[in-house]
């Protein structure tokens, strides 16, 4: 540009500036100059305007704010001559973005340029819209751009710009392209000979199919044709080969588009595609020229992901695995990086764990690579390939690496180590070790979630408590410990420190001393935890220790006037309470167990994928409904707990329920009906073991869960796997079992619908309300809900509307009447349609035996006459149950209470026994008193003897079986409480024992005497 001397001079000036300050002065001077000129419209010729606008762009590029002149840049767009117009377009698209109001001023000019006859102007306008067009543009310009793209009179130059411009508009507003007419056009576009237009059109296609592959299925064979043309026939003009490779970019794009189609049905298309892929897989050699090598490997890696996606024949898959195995051990960093990355992706879609495990040591080497990019990939892969068999090794590697890892990776690293430790812990003490080490090594990077989680585990697992306490105590001996460590140790020692009382250095006052040493070093949020711990230590010291009391009181006194409200309140309240004796004990009693929660950590670890087009892998994962369901159910074989299926509901609940761990002021009165926090804390307790526990129990010595588990798992099958194309959120079986013990909650959830349930029970009647909530922005149609009632229940469901509008919730009451005792379950056959997808599920309705029980507490005068009146079978049945999950007596009492069989304390002289009573309601039996006695063996908690009696033989039998299921089923997160409707007849082994068998058992006779 000959006439731009002013610009060159300015650039030279800037370059000659000695320092930043001089540069700034020069820039300010220029900006002032430009500003004055812009104000004085008269002297501003189009040429000068153009020069100034370029200068503005240059200044902007240097990093200075240019907050004026946007108007001038935009106004140049409407200049009549090309040079000015060009500058206007280019600078506008650099200085402004789609959210600027100025851009709206230009829409009309831009549109005129697009529909005008001047090809150069068309190109400029399409480029602007393609680069910064927003929704406004999408709404008003899409049809014009479409017309240009398919026009036969336009040069390829214009059409390729139109294709990408349309792509932008489509991304801004997917409704801009009407699928109906466009699919055919798109198919024709793929026959294009000009590779520039074809490349752009293929990019457009990728976006379109990622949104809706069905509509564009006719494009599939075309993509294969393109690949054949390039990779097999090499039928491209010389200028479109890159280092001898026919446009690697187009090949990559075509294969990318193919990854959005779930399968290729047409056998001949499939065959030709596989030929091409085979050629790419086999024919890619390592060559000296870097560029050629990169380009050919770009194609190769894309081919790999396509093969993986298509789930090709075994032979080809093993080729891929072999190739990847080779790549992860090469020296060339880019290839190694991609090998690691693609292996991780492969894990997500196919089951290649075993092959990948062979490379574990190689991958661990990459974890120590000097390049952080490679280390990250290695970390991801290790995380993905981890299972019970290698968890210990991998987590230990991660811990080791943690000490040397740079700060930017530590948080991710510790989160991942924590999750793996939780998911695959071979035993819980190891889990505690890992987390404490984590906190010790990288305390700053251990988020609160992680230590909340360990507290949750320790609280819910009695066996773990002494171990955790002694570990926590050990860490306190270290000279400098992280504040998070202070928090965990304080919490754990407060709750369980008394379990260590006999060990040296662990008396309450010693614990107090060592904890109190830390107090001056900690920040405000930790002090309340310490105060709670002191109060708990005090409470656990029996008999009272006046020395300790004095010290603790002094601390409370000191904080009574603390400026922090939380600290102040705790100090005052604990001080007063600690003088109250019995009330103090009640309030500060051991924290109840936490209800089972999905780990909030896992949720956190999900990488947010922010991509222009939905990633093919994610789509693929969603396209596998059967897998998703199977995986969401427990898998005793592989031992892997449900993978990352995160229920939307209450993702943070775990953190929330525990965020005030040490008994804050709000739960001074445990009976206070605070709706949220407390109901979480004090809701149905001790019922469901945390997921991690479940996973380890599966490998525990008891090993009895396999069978009931299968029942629970198979009860819910998708209605025809081919129709079900949604991913169920959460575990249906677990949701069901949770609902068996409480009266409201979520029964089922997928990305489109949530079915909630709320129930009221009175005698043998029940009233349930189903809440069907449409979560999506589209209506759900053909909604159907059918009840398949078992013989003993009378069920009446009010009709469900055919359509649920977007984001709406409909309620549907369900009346239940219990005719006679039975453990069968009613099933809700539910289905709906979203667009064209048909989704269905068979869901068990939590109208189970225990819902018709009414808690009843009896005194010994009431209990014993009744007990004696029930003479023996079939009214009173007894059974020795083995394989029970070891539960402490109070826990078992909790369990009984939770299904409304009330424990009557103090009736049985033997402290190892429990006596319980309840009332059962049904139409045939009326209100019927039921009694039960459980005799446990303190030496072996896995077995017990149970005697159940009532005035009705069926009721006695059913109740006995029900209780048995509860006791055995707990380890699985009580997954198999009730047999499925699919298998209604009770297993033959569960027949009432014959009197003869009873007579053989001396214990039975004893019990009969009682």
């Amino acid at each position: 540009m000959t006439g731009m001397r002013g610009l060159s001079v300015f650039i030279s000036d800037i370059r000659n500036c000695q320092n930043k300050e001089a540069e700034r002065l020069r820039v300010d001077k220029e900006l002032g100059n430009i500003r004055t000129c812009f104000k004085n419209e008269k002297v501003l010729t189009p040429y000068k305007k153009k020069k100034y606008v370029w200068k503005m762009l240059y200044i902007h590029m240097l990093g200075y704010d240019v907050d004026f002149g946007h108007m001038e840049a935009v106004s140049l767009i409407s200049a009549p001559k090309y040079p000015e117009k060009q500058v206007g377009y280019i600078v506008t698209s650099c200085l402004l973005n789609e959210n600027h109001d100025f851009l709206k001023l230009a829409i009309n000019t831009v549109r005129n340029d697009i529909i005008g006859r001047n090809e150069t102007f068309q190109c400029l306008a399409l480029t602007l819209v393609g680069n910064i067009g927003g929704r406004d543009f999408a709404e008003s310009l899409a049809p014009d751009v479409q017309r240009l793209l398919i026009s036969s009179s336009c040069r390829p130059l214009v059409r390729k710009k139109a294709a990408l411009c349309l792509l932008r508009l489509f991304r801004k507003n997917p409704d801009a392209i009407n699928v109906d007419g466009w699919a055919d056009r798109m198919t024709q576009l793929l026959d294009e000979r000009d590779l520039g237009v074809l490349t752009s059109s293929t990019s457009l296609l990728v976006a379109l199919v990622s949104n809706n592959h069905e509509a564009y299925s006719s494009c599939l064979p075309k993509c294969v044709k393109i690949l054949e043309r390039l990779a097999r026939n090499q039928d491209v003009p010389q200028e479109y080969t890159y280092y001898g490779i026919p446009s690697p970019w187009l090949q990559v794009k075509a294969m990318r588009a193919l990854q959005y189609f779930p399968t290729i049905e047409d056998p001949s298309t499939r065959k030709s595609l596989f030929e091409v892929l085979q050629r790419i897989l086999m024919g890619t050699d390592v060559v000296k020229n870097v560029n050629k090598n990169n380009a050919s490997h770009a194609v190769l890696f894309e081919a790999l992901s396509l093969v993986i996606h298509l789930d090709a024949e075994k032979e080809m898959m093993s080729q891929c695995v072999a190739l990847l195995g080779k790549f992860i051990s090469v020296r060339e960093p880019n290839i190694r990086y991609l090998g690691l990355e693609n292996m991780t992706r492969m894990l997500m879609v196919t089951d290649v764990q075993d092959v990948i495990k062979k490379h574990q040591s190689q991958i661990i080497t990459s974890l120590k690579d000097p390049d952080i990019s490679i280390r990250r990939r290695a970390l991801d892969l290790l995380y993905g390939m981890c299972d019970v068999s290698n968890a210990k090794d991998i987590v230990e590697e991660l811990l080791q690496y943690l000490s040397t890892a740079e700060f930017s990776m530590r948080e991710e690293l510790s989160l991942k180590a924590a999750i793996l430790a939780e998911k695959f812990a071979p035993d819980l003490s190891w889990y505690v070790d890992v987390i404490l080490q984590l906190i010790d090594k990288a305390g700053d990077f251990v988020s609160d979630d992680i230590w909340f989680r360990v507290v949750q585990f320790v609280t819910n697992n009695e066996d773990l408590q002494p171990y955790a306490a002694s570990k926590a105590r050990e860490y306190l001996d270290k000279i400098a410990i992280h504040e998070t460590m202070v928090k965990v140790s304080a919490y754990i020692l407060g709750e369980y420190g008394h379990l260590l009382a006999r060990q040296p250095g662990c008396s309450a006052s010693e614990l107090f001393n060592i904890l109190h040493e830390k107090l001056p070093t900690v920040s405000t949020p930790t002090i309340p935890i310490l105060l709670s711990t002191y109060a708990k230590l005090l409470m656990h010291t029996q008999p009272r220790d006046p020395e300790l009391e004095k010290k603790v009181w002094a601390v409370f006194k000191k904080y009574e006037s603390c400026i922090d409200v939380e600290i102040q309140q705790r100090a005052v309240e604990y001080f007063e309470l600690s003088k109250k004796g019995a009330a103090f004990m009640d309030v500060l009693a051991e924290m109840p167990k936490f209800p089972e929660r999905q780990s909030s950590l896992i949720k956190k670890a999900e990488v947010v994928e922010d991509t222009a087009d939905q990633s093919a892998i994610k789509l693929r994962a969603q396209q596998q409904p059967s897998n998703a369901l199977v995986l969401a159910d427990p898998q005793p074989v592989s031992g892997a707990p449900p993978p990352l299926k995160i229920p939307n509901q209450e993702p943070q609940a775990a953190a929330r329920s525990i965020s005030q761990p040490n008994g804050t002021s709000s739960n001074i009165d445990p009976q206070a009906p605070s709706p949220d926090l407390l109901s979480d804390l004090l809701g149905p307790l001790a019922i469901e073991a945390p997921p991690g526990v479940a996973s380890t129990e599966q490998h525990g010595p008891t090993g009895t869960e396999g069978v009931p588990d299968e029942v629970g798992g198979s009860a819910i099958v998708p209605v025809g796997e081919q129709t079900n194309s949604v991913e169920v959120i959460g575990n249906i079986a677990e949701r069901f079992h949770a609902l068996c013990l409480k009266d409201s909650g979520v029964l089922y959830e997928d990305p489109y619908i949530q079915i909630g349930i709320k129930a009221e029970w009175r005698g043998h009647h029940g009233r349930l309300v189903l809440f069907l909530g449409n979560k999506s922005t589209n209506p759900l149609t053909s909604v159907q809900a059918l009840i398949l009632p078992p013989a003993h229940l009378k069920l009446e469901l009010s009709p469900v509307p055919d359509t649920i509008p977007p984001r709406a919730q409909v309620q549907s009451p369900l009346e239940v009447m219990n005719i006679r005792p039975s453990r069968d379950v009613a099933v809700l056959d539910f289905s709906y349609k979203l667009n064209t997808i048909l989704v269905g599920a068979k869901l068990r309705i939590p109208a189970v035996l225990n819902k018709f029980l009414q808690p009843l507490q009896l005194t010994s005068e009431e209990f014993f006459p009744q007990w004696r009146a029930l003479s023996g079978p079939p009214l009173k049945l007894q059974e020795v149950v083995r394989g029970v999950r070891p539960l402490a007596l109070p826990e078992m009492a909790n369990l009984f209470n939770s299904f409304r069989v009330t424990i009557c304390p103090g009736l049985d002289p033997n402290p190892n026994n429990l006596v319980a009573s309840t009332t059962f309601y049904s139409e045939s039996t009326g209100a019927m008193l039921c009694l039960a006695r459980i005799e446990t063996d303190p030496a072996d908690r896995t077995q017990l003897r149970m005697t159940v009696g009532s005035g009705d033989p069926t009721l006695t039998f059913e109740l006995k079986e029900f209780i048995k299921e509860q006791l055995i089923a707990i380890p699985m997160g009580s997954r198999a409480l009730v047999p499925a409707a699919a298998a209604p007849p009770p297993p033959p082994v569960a027949q009432p024992p014959s009197p003869a068998a009873l007579a053989d058992d001396p214990g039975a006779m004893l019990a009969g005497l009682l």
Binding site: R15, P83, N131, S200, L250, D610
Partner: protein, 176 residues
């Protein structure tokens, strides 16, 4: 999809910045600063890929210049790496033996070339020849207009000259 393309020298001076996603000015400056810091100290033996926030930066160094493109994490890394090289080849061809100074003084041309190469964050044209031809087409167009303008200017000067001449003649005539 390409989120943005940056061309920076070792000192972190931006030689070209093109964003295909809407970012605020302050955000752009931050991004440029962060990307520079990310790539400048990496060893030549390292990969050409670095994770950047939720995306990935694919970069390549030519003499003292870093070419960085930020793409989605699911995009094909090597394809974009070679896309950078193709761009450099085009620049090299256009400026015949390109150096940083060419890019500094002709930054507006670089923007023009880029617009022919990439659009809407996607590759538009992969033929070097097609792009070079297109560029000379555009230059001709500009020159043509400039020449017209220049001719027009000369005509005006000549006219004024003629006019003055005529006036003199008339005056002379008058005196005569």
């Amino acid at each position: 999809m390409i989120r943005f393309i940056l061309l920076q020298n070792r000192q972190g001076k931006t030689r070209l910045a093109k964003y295909y996603v809407p970012l605020e000015e302050s955000e752009k400056h931050k991004v440029e600063y962060e990307v520079h810091r990310l790539v400048v100290n990496r060893d030549a033996k390292f990969t050409n890929f670095v994770e950047f926030r939720t995306h990935k930066v694919i970069y390549r160094r030519y003499a003292g210049l870093f070419f960085s493109v930020c793409v989605d994490i699911t995009d094909n890394e090597l394809a974009y790496l070679e896309c950078i090289h193709l761009f450099v080849e085009i620049l090299d061809h256009f400026f015949s033996n390109v150096c940083e100074l060419d890019l500094v003084f002709n930054f507006h041309k670089v923007y023009l070339i880029l617009d022919e190469f990439i659009l809407a964050g996607e590759l538009q044209e992969t033929s070097k020849r097609a792009i070079i031809e297109r560029m000379s087409e555009l230059e001709k167009l500009e020159d043509l207009l400039l020449r017209c303008f220049a001719e027009f200017k000369t005509t005006m000067v000549m006219l004024r000259f003629v006019k003055g001449y005529v006036e003199i003649i008339i005056l002379n005539l008058f005196y005569l």
